[in-house]
Point group: C2
Chain length 201, copies 2
DNA sequence: TCTAAAATCTTGACACTGTCAAGATTATCC
DNA sequence: GGATAATCTTGACAGTGTCAAGATTTTAGA
């Protein structure tokens, strides 16, 4: 068991993980550089050896979130290879669940807490990769006649945009109780996908 | 011309307006109670006579944003009375434009900066009213056979969710350039609405 | 292996923030 | 007019992000 060393060893990842933990426990408000540092047991300025500033830490946490989201989506799709429509539905549901179970991280990923995404190549790469993965699923649906023919990226923005919009509004409490009292999120999402589908299952 | 009085006269609204101005000029980062107070020419603790805390000011600004959004949507719909589909398209476009022209306020309204919406009755009221206005437009579309028959609120969440999702992703830079290089936001939105429409125009 | 450079971490400092308490000033109402 | 309430100011405190200077450790080159 190593005693406290001057050098942490893997402070960068430790800080990211501590940030994730804080997000889970206290939400976005509780996330500060100093608190993250304290939680890891390191002085308040130590993070600056690894992150340029606060935004940079947030970018790293977001990147981590996207990695997890990508893995989840990919797994959901892979579990239903050969059935494009089911792939779409389950990937969509995985997206929703990720958002509901990791609300604080989801918001950081998508709700403008991160200001200049372009400055963070790793973030851009994984978020693009995630989008492309969804495009694949959508393209398969189009090939199978589940979704109508159109530029796949455009169709993806349309289908995924709806999904994203519904869950975003739900997380913000912006969906009327006249709806939430009568329909579950899953039903709302299913309805949305059926809306856009050609073949009914 | 009144010289500086000890009592401002209408500090509450002045603070809200100053907050809006700061949002336009500096974005969300620049919004602080002390800066708002300074801009109005009042001491840093003066706002506490009108707003319980920072969240309360943000709630007031969001409420103001919703009032404006409602007016805009209502005007767009009223301009096309008798043509439900056009009402939907133009209201949607008004929504998009509001988001693009008032990005910072839009984000505050919808992106979780405000934590406990329920604590602010005025906010809840106007946001519900706005939702209901959209439901009316959607219902008219259903009656006219433009949108399929379904519970209007559910259909509204679906249609409006898509709109909201697309513009949210766009504002966050999450829409791939392979899409944005080929399609305008208006085209994307139109595509989305056509997706859900029964009758093609 | 020894040493110079680089990486990492600590402490000190500064400006800024939200918030409260105590008191000053002004408006309101009986 | 005088009491009460509303409004505003100043002082204070704990947190915050960030930088600079220096301490410590690792790494790399000879």
């Amino acid at each position: 068991m190593p005693a406290k060393k001057y050098h942490h060893g893997d402070l960068e990842n430790a800080l990211i993980q501590a940030g994730v933990d804080i997000l889970f426990q206290e939400g976005i408000e509780g996330l500060s550089l100093r608190k993250v540092a304290k939680r890891v047991g390191v002085s308040y300025a130590a993070p600056y050896a690894h992150f340029k500033d606060r935004q940079s830490l947030i970018a790293a946490i977001s990147t981590e979130g996207f990695k997890q989201l990508y893995t989840t989506l990919d797994a959901a799709a892979a579990a239903h290879a050969g059935d494009p429509k089911q792939q779409l539905v389950e990937a969509a549901w995985a997206y929703i669940q990720f958002a509901m179970q990791n609300t604080a991280i989801f918001k950081i990923m998508f709700s403008g807490v991160l200001e200049k995404e372009k400055d963070y190549p790793a973030f851009v790469e994984i978020s693009h990769k995630t989008f492309e993965r969804v495009v694949e699923i959508v393209r398969a649906c189009q090939d199978a006649g589940v979704l109508r023919s159109a530029p796949p990226e455009l169709m993806t923005v349309s289908v995924w945009g709806q999904l994203h919009g519904v869950i975003s509004l739900a997380l913000e409490g912006q969906i009327s109780h006249t709806v939430l009292d009568r329909f579950t999120i899953r039903e709302i999402v299913s309805f949305g996908i059926e809306q856009m589908s050609l073949s009914k299952t």
